[in-house]
Amino acid sequence: MGSAVDRPDVLEEAEIKLNNSDDKKPLVSIRAFTILTMFYTVGTSILITPGGLNLHAKQDAWIACLFGIALDLALVWVFSVLGERYPDLTIIQYSRVLLGRWLGGAAGLLFSAFCYLLAALLVADLGYFLTTQVMSDTPIEALAVIFIAAVAYTARQGMRVYSLTAEMLFPWVTLLLVILLFPVFNKFDVQTLRPVFEFGYIPVAKGGASFSMLQEVAVLLVLYPFVSKGKGRRNGYLAGTAIGGAVLFSVTAGSEFVLGVELTANHVYPSYALAKNIRMGHMIERVEGLLMFIWVCSVFIKTVVTFHASVIGLNQTLGIRDSKLLIWPLAIGLFPVAMASYTNIVFAVNFVDKYWAAYAFPFIVLFPLLLLCLSFIRHGRRSVGYDRPPGRPS
């Protein structure tokens, strides 16, 4: 009896150790990380960005999208330089190394809070999409509760489980994307794209910049040290962003071709409207269900990653030993935050359009860039080796 009781404890301890960054064994393979990054980029963006891009850049939305993806890739390149300088530490940990115990801790806490709010907003995003477009009689609260429970359960199973989940979903999502986008390419018409740069470069640049603030790939720096080390990690980060960007570009261009600029800009979920318009002969119809599936998958993965990042951040700033302890208490807090944040869909769309970029910029661009500059000043040009992390925080 005694040994039967003891064994789970030992197993649990091993698991706790596995989930702490002290363990050298990687939790996420490079391929899984690439797919996670791709899902993270596609995330909510696949549904909402075509609208915003078309609203600002009109028929140049596709150029704005390309610009935004280029911006994303440049940022990811910089982030990966930062990540590779501290291969064993999360962004929360090296912010404490670089900024000192108190300032770094405060910055880490703010970053975790940003992730937490983002996770709550993703929950609300999913709820609003499903209740307005598909299940109009279902109260949003019911969907949010189920979704939060699934997210918390998955996050508690650990990084290895949800990275494998993403890997498992990837072929299906790819297949569905091909079915969704293949008919759209028949509609390709250069005439819809003209005149190019009718309103000058400014709206295009603005649209692209606010587009790239919606991918929040910086949050993945929390996961970065848990990925298997080597050159592939960096390439995986870049490749995932590029593949996700390609998906977003196809959907944006597709909505422009099929719906036209005005209609795309006026829809809250233009790519859903796009999917409703797809018909191949009389064989393939009502493919909007596929888009919904893709979107629910990618938002699910994105929410799990973001929520887990906030939990890891809080654990590391406050020095919590058991990495899974805070998951459920934080998860039940997601619900009131989500419901209080998005009071109605008009407010939500307006906030994302006007304020999100300005709000997210300090967290997902300025903070990592500041850390990178400080790192160059304090540790010089050499990157810090795998074996000797500089002053591991207590």
Binding site: D9, E12, L117, L318, G319, I320, R321, D322, L325, L326, W328, P329, L330, I332, G333, F335, P336, V337, M339, A340, S341, Y342, T343, F347, F351, Y355, A358, Y359
Partner: protein
Amino acid sequence: MWGVVGVAMVAAVIVWFEVPRQWKQRSWRDLSVFGVILVCASVLLSLESYQVKLPNPLAGIEWVLRSIGRMF
């Protein structure tokens, strides 16, 4: 009434699953953080269940950003 009961039950289940192991390991620091977060989340959740209008964090962010914009 039922809102609070439901929230209390959820909180009790979470405590049931998480606390004993921590208690055995005497990680008081972990437990105190856990307690604070659980209490805050439960209070928010029960307020939400009575449809109390909670302060909107996004409205706060909007206000801050607009005041910063006005300064420049």
